[in-house]
């Protein structure tokens, strides 16, 4: 997956993302890190064509995103957002089965897949499949969100602050599990966060954005040693002992 000279402007002319060049290697977890309004979420939405770039090109699985049918493109890309965005009127089973059903899988195959996905995220299907999202805790909802995104086995996963709304303990738990899951499944993951700890813990590489521009791409080790002021600002927030709770 690749962004080449991608710019996104609002109709008013304000650029939310400017001249972004970025390559995501197969199987890596690329973190998009930045402050609020730095263009992280916009970049993510450009990848699955929830937004269309004003300039530049995005390549997904070797093909320009603009050449894909947007519906097919999105079904091939898992998408997890903060608070999961589960459908409250559907059971966990129906939520997880969303994309397989849209893709007209056979019912037995869907049933098996839902079970497998729920087990994968640590929710026994027998206990959770028939529940509704309102009967789950925040952490459980987020797990279902991940299961739903993985259900059709897409090669790419986009995650927009998936753990942002969770309490610190649950978040740490999900981060640990997610890291293990990511290395086991070998998915290409683009992960948006403003939490530098999360970025260092989960990222293969970290792309830092500021005001819609790419500051640089670093491995977690490089990130801690880098000298750019914006990187220092993030690295220092790590040492000052305050996480993102107070910053938010």
């Amino acid at each position: 997956m690749e962004c080449r000279g991608v710019t996104y402007r609002l109709p008013s002319g304000t650029a939310l993302v400017s001249d972004l060049n970025l390559t995501v290697a197969r199987g890596e977890t690329l973190i998009l890190l930045g402050r609020s309004g730095s263009g992280k979420t916009t970049t993510l939405k450009l990848i699955n064509r929830l937004l269309e770039p004003s300039e530049g090109k995005i390549i997904v699985s070797g093909r320009p995103a603009s050449a894909w049918d947007p519906i097919q493109l999105r079904r091939g890309i898992g998408y997890v957002i903060q608070d999961a965005g589960l459908f409250p009127h559907w059971s966990v089973e129906k939520n997880v089965a969303l994309v397989p059903r849209l893709e007209h899988w056979a019912e037995e195959r869907i049933e098996a897949r839902v079970k497998e996905m729920l087990e994968l995220v640590g929710l026994p299907a027998g206990e959770f499949a028939s529940r509704h999202p309102s009967e789950l805790s925040g952490g459980q909802r987020q797990r279902v969100g991940v299961a739903r995104a993985l259900a059709s086995d897409p090669p790419i996963l986009l995650m927009d602050e998936p753990f942002g709304a969770l309490d610190a303990v649950t978040r740490a738990e999900l981060q640990r599990e997610f890291r293990a899951l990511a290395s086991r499944l070998g998915k290409t993951i683009v992960f948006v966060t403003h939490d530098v700890r999360e970025a260092i813990f989960l990222g293969t590489r970290i792309a830092l954005l500021a005001q819609g521009r790419l500051v640089g791409v670093y491995s977690p080790k490089e990130f801690l040693r880098a000298t750019e002021p914006e990187v220092r600002a993030f690295a220092e927030s790590l040492h000052s002992g305050r996480g993102d709770e107070e910053a938010r």
Binding site: I71, R74, Y79, I81, Q82, D83, G85, F87, L98, L102
Partner: protein
């Protein structure tokens, strides 16, 4: 003579008038739903357009019903004295609550749910039928409920232009200066309204409980 003595003695006509009344309301509601629901869906998430159309529907709502019935009589095709004119006027009144609640209901669906539905690759049609309409259903039904109760009330005035219904008793009673005859029209109409409202309320609660 009591109002229910009157009802009992004129059983045949009373049942006929109730039937007429229900027919007028049903026809008007059917038209308002067929026009209002798709229009409401089309207007949802289009704030600017919504303001204009809801504004127009609001203006219709401010026209006194007797005047609206009168205005429509000379209009070709739909006009004239009788049921069809009444049905058009009633449908115009019922349109606003249906339209407004369809818009509000769909606009009120959580943006995160819509975003994830789009992001997972649902088509606009799939989103509408599987996500937006089911989640908007309780609000939508509240609009239908208001429109129905209102229509049952306004339909009593439709008797003034010869459309029949329970209003016939009310106007007759006024002319005869006979309160019992007025009540023979007003009480069944009120009961109809209460009945329809509680039935729809039941459906609404059931939908909201899901």
């Amino acid at each position: 003579m009591n109002w229910y003595d009157f009802l009992l003695r004129n059983r045949g006509e009373v049942v006929g008038r109730i039937t007429e009344h229900v027919e007028l309301v049903s026809a008007a509601m059917a038209i308002a739903l067929v026009v209002g629901l798709p229009l409401g869906v089309a207007l949802a998430r289009r704030r600017a357009l919504q303001r204009w159309v809801l504004g127009a529907a609001n203006v219709v709502q401010t026209i006194p019903s007797l005047a609206l019935f009168g205005f429509l009589i000379p209009v070709p095709w739909i006009g004239g004295v009788g049921a069809s004119t009444a049905i058009v006027a009633l449908a115009l009144y019922a349109l606003l609550p249906i339209l407004r609640n369809t818009c509000t209901g769909i606009d009120g669906v959580d943006a995160a749910i819509i975003e994830s539905a789009r992001g997972m690759g649902m088509t606009p049609r799939q989103m509408l039928w599987q996500v937006e309409l089911p989640l908007a259903a309780p609000v939508l039904l509240a609009g239908i409920r208001v429109a129905t109760a209102m229509s049952i009330g306004i339909t009593t005035i439709a008797a003034a232009i010869g459309a029949g219904g329970l209003g016939v008793f009310i106007f007759r009673g006024v002319a005869m200066v006979n309160n019992q005859v007025i009540l023979a029209g007003a009480i069944p109409a009120a009961l109809l309204a209460v009945l329809a409202d509680s039935a729809l309320g039941l459906v609404q609660r059931r939908l909201a409980a899901r």
